[in-house]
């Protein structure tokens, strides 16, 4: 079965992989202690059982009888090694920052481990999804990724072209019915569609221009489905800017955008209008967070109240002018043009500046922007709010790029990560989302859907909200 992907995975060693395609392939090659299911709930994978001993200690019993692809048995020593090699500063793993609260990993017997944290840190459970490699691997990166214990074995890498996986015949959960998987890199979205039409690609997920979906429907036998995802698109704002520091201006921006029309016409219904960074699929999502439905008249009123009157009513002069940064990807530019046109209706002039990714991201990181649009991908734990909106998280120590500061939000976010009980956390993050929906350091736009295009012969695939492809191990091919 051939899967079409947009970009070649940069790094398959799970201790170093950060780009989306590498992470997705890793989940097929490597196992982890826990694994998120299709509802983003963490379930035991390598762990037979696990429990919290106290508010900063986790005890894991590892399943027995699991082997790496090279035949070595997988034990607690391998798990310990995997975490410690990430923590080793000499290895420069990009995941080291995620393990900051980890004090130690102790192996209590061949198949038991104890993780101790320095402070209670509820979101740490997410880190039990890191891929496990054999203790015999080198600590530092090498050109050949270490063997895993997952349902597929890395067979071949052809730089820039494709990665071939073959089925693991001895997989402990049962052998996949596929012989293997080929991940073929086809950078151009239109060419991926033609490859699908030709039959040389069997499966694609996302990274397609919304405009081609109707063509695919009428010209191929593709099964096309769109599933609610967690990727959150937003407009970020510089809150130190003399105009954008006014909450009423931000609220006016939120109300001047007709999300439904953008989603229907530009995105062809591949997204859902958002009111929070967390999607409704997240356990901590607050439906009560205020929505800002399209209301240009109210937006104008808010701008008047903030002191930015329209100098000539419906005439050509704007109330003020702001720059909007985005990437030079075609769809992003079209979204930016549509936003410009909508904001013009309430007297706000947008100057669109589109850059190649490296320059754009550098500007965003530095806080060098008025407005920009980006997405958060793979959001699981609500503690992400700490990284984005806590006042101590301004760059370079976090991603509070707009310099948002609210002491109540700071307090709630500190409380949220120290609390282990889910119900109590849910209440805390509900309040956080309600405050953010009023303060609007981000203008929420939409949550992207995961668009799956596959041959009708592919059966048994379940879409994951974060775009994970782990369910490919359960897929079967049926001739028709």
């Amino acid at each position: 079965m051939v899967v079409g992907i947009e970009s070649y995975p940069l790094q398959l060693d799970p201790r170093y992989a950060t780009d989306a395609n590498s992470v997705r392939l890793d989940n097929l090659i490597y196992n982890s202690l826990l694994r998120a299911d299709e509802r983003s709930q963490l379930r035991p994978e390598l762990a037979e059982t696990w429990r919290m001993v106290d508010d900063r200690t986790y005890l894991f019993d590892i399943r027995k009888g699991i082997k790496f692809h090279n035949g070595q048995p997988l034990t607690a020593a391998d798990v310990k090694f995997s975490y410690e090699s990430i923590l080793d500063p000499n290895n420069h793993s990009p995941k080291r920052g995620l393990l900051r609260p980890l004090h130690s990993v102790e192996q209590t017997n061949t198949f038991q481990l104890r993780f101790r944290l320095t402070v209670p840190h509820a979101p740490f459970v997410e880190q039990f999804t890191l891929g496990v490699v054999p203790a015999s691997s080198t600590g530092a990166l090498s050109s050949q990724p270490p063997p895993g214990s997952g349902p597929f074995i890395l067979q071949a890498k052809e730089s820039g072209e494709k990665i071939t996986l073959k089925v693991n015949p001895d997989y402990w959960e049962g052998k996949s019915s596929l012989d293997g998987l080929v991940f073929k890199t086809v950078p151009d979205a239109m060419v991926r569609v033609l490859e699908f039409k030709k039959g040389s690609i069997d499966f694609m997920q996302n990274d397609l221009e919304p405009d081609v979906l109707p063509w695919l429907k009428s010209n191929t036998d593709a099964d096309i489905d769109a599933y609610q995802g967690t990727t959150f698109q937003y407009i970020g704002m510089n809150l130190t800017h003399p105009i954008l520091k006014h909450a009423k201006v931000r609220q006016a921006l939120a109300q001047a955008i007709d999300r439904d029309r953008l989603i229907r016409h530009v995105l062809k219904d591949t997204a859902t209008a958002a009111n929070s960074l967390l999607s409704p699929l997240n356990w901590a999502y607050a439906a009560s967070a205020r929505r800002w439905p399209y209301d240009p008249e109210h937006a104008k009123q808010l701008l008047d109240e903030a002191g930015f009157r329209d100098p000539d009513g419906d005439g050509p002069l704007a109330r003020f002018r702001l720059s909007f940064k985005t990437t030079n990807i075609d769809l992003r530019r079209r979204i930016a043009e549509a936003l410009k046109e909508q904001l013009q209706q309430v007297g706000i002039e947008l100057e669109i500046r589109s850059y190649e990714w490296g320059t754009f991201y550098s500007d965003v990181k530095k806080g060098n922007f008025h407005l920009y649009s980006l997405a958060w991908v793979g959001v699981m734990d609500p503690d992400i709010f700490f990284q984005i909106f806590h006042s101590n998280s301004a760059p370079p120590d976090g991603d509070n790029r707009g310099r948002y500061s609210n002491p109540e939000v700071d307090r709630l976010l500190e409380q949220g990560r120290m609390t282990n009980e889910t119900a109590a956390r849910k209440l805390i993050y509900k309040r956080v989302q309600e405050i953010l929906a009023e303060d609007l350091p981000y203008v929420p736009l939409w949550w992207w859907k995961n668009v799956i295009v596959k041959k009708p012969s592919i059966r048994g695939f379940s879409a994951y909200p974060d775009g994970d492809l782990i369910s490919l191990k359960e897929v079967s091919l049926r001739s028709h």
């Binding site: 940069l10 420069h92 920052g97 072209e161 950078p187 060419v191 033609l194 490296g358």
Partner: protein, 307 residues
Amino acid sequence: MKRYLHQRLLLLLPTLFGALTLVFVLVHLIPGDPVEVMLGETATAADKEELRRSLGFDQPLSRQYGSFFIKLAAGDLGHSLYEQASVAEIISARLPATLELALGAMITAILISFPLGALAAVRRGRWADRLALLFSLLGLSLPNFWLGPLLMVVFAIQLGWTPVSGRGGMSHLLLPALTLALGMAAILTRILRVSLLQAMHEDYVRTARAKGLSERRVWLKHTLRNAMLSVVSIVSLQFGNLLAGSLITETIFSWPGIGRLTVQAIQTRDYPLVQGCVLVIAISYVLVNFFTDLLYRMVDPRISYGK
């Protein structure tokens, strides 16, 4: 001739030095920090500083520049910041793809343009000439990002003769080579036509005919050979461009060549890889120019490079 060869080889060094210096300065001046990309969202300022130090990015630019050239002198192009392989390994994995595409496109362009250009010159003002000029106008006007997908739809989807994209055997090479070749063939056809027309009216051609030489001999020995000089310069210039990789054609046809690699390296601010790619591209240009000079002499023995 020997002296000339030595001179050209000596000139290679300052050319490469200049190209690499320019690129070194440019990649360090454009915004974007590889450390930010490498360590991701969750790294602390201290982690980033530590990685910057271990990569030597904390050093003044002048020192980084010096150590880059010292390593280069020892044949070390460095390691890619992302792919865990040396720059030399990554480039040598991609270079054959670029060479294959460049040669394929060049040969196709020559096969199309030579007969067409000659026919246009011989039948000047007649329908064959007009057809050749129309072809050359179309070839110059159709951009690759449009022509590539069009060829795919016709040959891969409708007729089913070739694969859509990717690298494999001859069938994979056909469409990307043709996409690149058409633009080149258009230029070559025009140049060849004009050069032949000029040569056809030279005195030595009239003399050759007056001597009673056969038309074939007049064409091959006197007209075509004299028209070749300008064609050789254009062909070599185009070939140099092809060796630098064609980003658009490589992207459309999922061709794993140097062009795509260079752009990917620039986007991720993979400094060592960008410098390695530029070095290879600069060497290709210099070598192509060098061989062009040798070809000139073969085409026209009157050209002298000194004693």
